[in-house]
């Protein structure tokens, strides 16, 4: 559980390695964060400013990137003219809805798989995860046919169902691991105390809360970042942010400013979600329930 101090002694290889590590991390951060910086800055720039780029090798010209007159006109364009408020709402409802459904159903299924023995349990467990082995594209066409006959195309419930199809097996698989980590003795103690099985399950839920919280984020991210389902099953009435952003690329006119602003709108909520949940992700799981 607790991390242990590992004794390390200096040697020349280690010194070289530690310098190399720092250089690598610096480049990696530059590589991953720079696009976000450009996106963020560009979303507040007028089109002319946005294309003021320094010539290759002109390091002094970097200041060009930061000299501009801030404007919010791209955001105004998105929310006033292009109906992005609705798309943002759709994205939130679809991803949060699917995450909630997946976690609730997944918790019950994972609990059952973790605690009960029944015939064919291992096969069932493998079958559940095997549904995630096929690529999404492979099932898209049959899923589309099914959804169309059920009138679910272009609706938010349809989109939630589609995401749940993919989130649920994952949820069961991951959450089972979390339940397995909670000693059964805690529930047995609860039952001896006078709890029913359901009350005993409620008693241990706080112990799996960090796992459920972490997993909730993964489910939300899956729905939030999805393009394929959103463009095919959600097309029309349940447009979410990614297809809406693609819609800004038109043959006669690529709206770079609005695309950058849409990118910011898509990124920021998940950034805050990550910060919010970070404390949960690192919390200890059983917190000394049982003598180790």
């Amino acid at each position: 559980m607790a991390s242990r101090e590992i004794a390390q002694y200096p040697s020349s290889t280690r010194r070289v390695l530690s310098v190399a590590t720092i250089i690598f991390i610096a480049f990696y951060l530059l590589w991953t964060l720079l696009p976000f910086l450009i996106m963020f800055l560009s979303s507040f720039k007028d089109l002319l400013d946005a294309f003021q780029l320094p010539a290759p090798g002109d390091w002094g010209g970097v200041s060009l990137l930061f000299t501009f007159e801030p404007t919010t006109k791209h955001f105004e364009n998105l929310f006033v003219d292009l109906n992005f408020g609705t798309y943002l709402g759709n994205s939130l409802i679809a991803s949060l809805g699917s995450a909630a459904v997946s976690v609730v159903l997944g918790s019950f299924a994972a609990y059952a798989l973790s605690r009960f023995d029944f015939r064919g349990k291992n096969d069932l467990f493998f079958w559940i995860i095997s549904t995630r082995m096929a690529p999404v594209v492979a099932v898209l066409v049959p899923l589309y046919a099914i959804f169309r006959s059920l009138d679910l195309i272009g609706t938010l419930p349809g989109l939630i169902l589609a995401y749940t199809t993919f989130n649920l097996p994952f949820a069961i698989w991951i959450l089972k691991g979390f339940f397995d980590n909670v000693p059964y003795a805690v529930e047995e103690a609860a039952m001896c105390d006078g709890a029913t099985r359901l009350q005993a399950l409620r008693m241990i839920l706080p112990l799996v809360a960090p796992g459920i919280g972490a997993f909730l984020v993964l489910c939300v991210l899956f729905g939030w970042n999805d393009y394929l389902f959103a463009s095919i099953i959600g097309s029309g009435g349940a447009k979410t942010l990614p297809p809406a952003t693609i819609g800004l690329v038109q043959p006669q006119n690529i709206q770079w400013g609005s695309i950058m602003a849409a990118g910011v709108v898509t990124t920021v909520p998940m950034l805050f979600l990550g910060l919010l949940i970070r404390r949960y992700l690192v919390a200890g799981l059983t917190m000394g329930a049982v003598r180790e």
């Binding site: 000693p183 003795a185 805690v186 047995e188 103690a189 609860a190 039952m191 001896c192 105390d193 006078g194 709890a195 029913t196 009350q199 008693m203 706080p206 112990l207 059983t286 917190m287 000394g288 329930a289 049982v290 003598r291």
Partner: protein
């Protein structure tokens, strides 16, 4: 406060038999210890009593009530687990209050009873802590506290002090026994530690491989073991066993070992005749019932050589070689002998046990 009656109970796990045809009675308000090595079926028995596992066959009665089909919450039992099984996210107070809350006891009453139990267990200063901030002994007291706040019909203890250090364990033995006497609650206590069973229980049930070997008071178990297995399991250091052959001579019945001859007394002879003992027997004698003197020709009947001596402070353990066998002797501290020194030993004949070599059953 009820008697617990286990009637012809079996427990299977798939095809493995964990408990075979167990019959046991724990009288009202008495303290029964179920003693045995790991895998002997003692924990399965306790879990069936608690209702955490189904009974494969047979019946369990609490008083007049058959409880086979009752879930744990309806059996009115309280169980203390080997690993304490506290709720890690709740404080000591909340852990102890939980059984009362689940039964809808009102707040003031919960507060009063938890505080009374905590005071009795001397953990009243820790009520706001969480299990992670407690030592092993404190966790264990909390687990016991959770069991006693409710005044259940039966206490079930599953090796509750096995994980404490030796000193604390000795202390808790006394406390648990005191607690049971004070609360006068029927208690069933599972342990693999004979010291715990001997020191606390009114009755001990010794189990081995799912079968009840012997049921009796601690002194019956110790002084009159029913068979060779019980004799070897109970007692520290364990009993010595010698393969002997019975011979009827002019001086009476003699147990003949390649390195010694032991004349049995008349009472023992009568029992052997009554039970029509076979001539091949296993002779058992406890380490305290062998006398030991250092030096060749030091006066006792049987010559032997020293294998090793262990100094325990007040006592010492001497292992001696007798023919091809090795005997453990416990005696008052004396001069420490060297390896292979000669010595003489003598058996306290009245404390000898004889077991059938075929069935292991004790003749006496």
């Amino acid at each position: 406060m009820v008697a617990v009656n286990i009637q012809s109970v079996w427990k299977y796990y798939g095809k493995t038999v964990a408990v075979k045809d167990l019959n046991l009675l724990c009288r009202e308000n008495s303290f029964l210890a179920i003693l045995g090595p790991s895998g002997c079926g003692k924990s399965s028995t306790l879990r069936m009593l608690a209702g955490l596992e189904h009974i494969s066959a047979g019946d369990i009665f609490f008083g007049e009530q058959r409880v086979n089909m009752l879930p744990p919450k309806d059996r009115d039992i309280a169980m203390v687990f080997e690993n304490y099984a506290l709720y890690p996210h709740k404080t000591v107070f909340e852990n102890m209050a939980n059984p009362l809350r689940l039964r809808g006891v009102d707040k003031a009453e919960i507060d009063r009873r938890v505080k009374a139990a905590a005071a009795m267990l001397q953990i009243d200063a820790l009520l706001d802590r969480k299990p992670m901030q407690l030592s092993g002994g404190q966790k264990q007291r909390t687990a016991i506290g959770r069991a006693i706040v409710r005044e259940p019909k039966v206490f079930l203890f599953d090796e509750p002090i096995a994980h404490l250090d030796a000193k604390l364990r000795a202390h808790m033995r006394g406390e648990l026994k005191h607690l049971q006497r004070r609360l006068e609650t029927t208690t069933i206590y599972v342990t693999h530690d004979q010291l715990e069973a001997m020191s606390m229980a009114d009755n001990i049930a010794v189990m081995h491989e799912g079968v009840l070997q012997q049921f009796g008071t601690p002194s019956e178990i110790y002084n009159h073991p029913a068979n060779e297995w019980v004799a070897g399991f109970v007692g520290e250091p364990p009993m010595n066993f010698l393969n002997c052959r019975l011979e009827l001579t002019s001086e009476g019945v003699v147990a003949v070992h390649p390195a010694c001859r032991i004349r049995l007394n008349d009472a023992q002879r009568r029992i052997l005749e009554e039970k029509q003992a076979e001539p091949d027997v296993k002779l058992g004698i406890r380490p305290d019932n062998i006398a030991y003197r250092a030096g060749a020709n030091s006066g006792l009947d049987i010559p032997a050589t020293v294998f090793v001596t262990e100094n325990l402070g007040g006592d010492m353990i001497v292992e001696v070689t007798l023919g091809d066998d090795r005997l453990t002797i416990k005696t008052k501290i004396g001069p420490i002998a060297n390896l292979d020194d000669p010595c003489t030993i003598a058996f306290d004949v009245s404390r000898i046990h004889l077991f059938s070599t075929t069935t292991g059953v004790a003749y006496f």
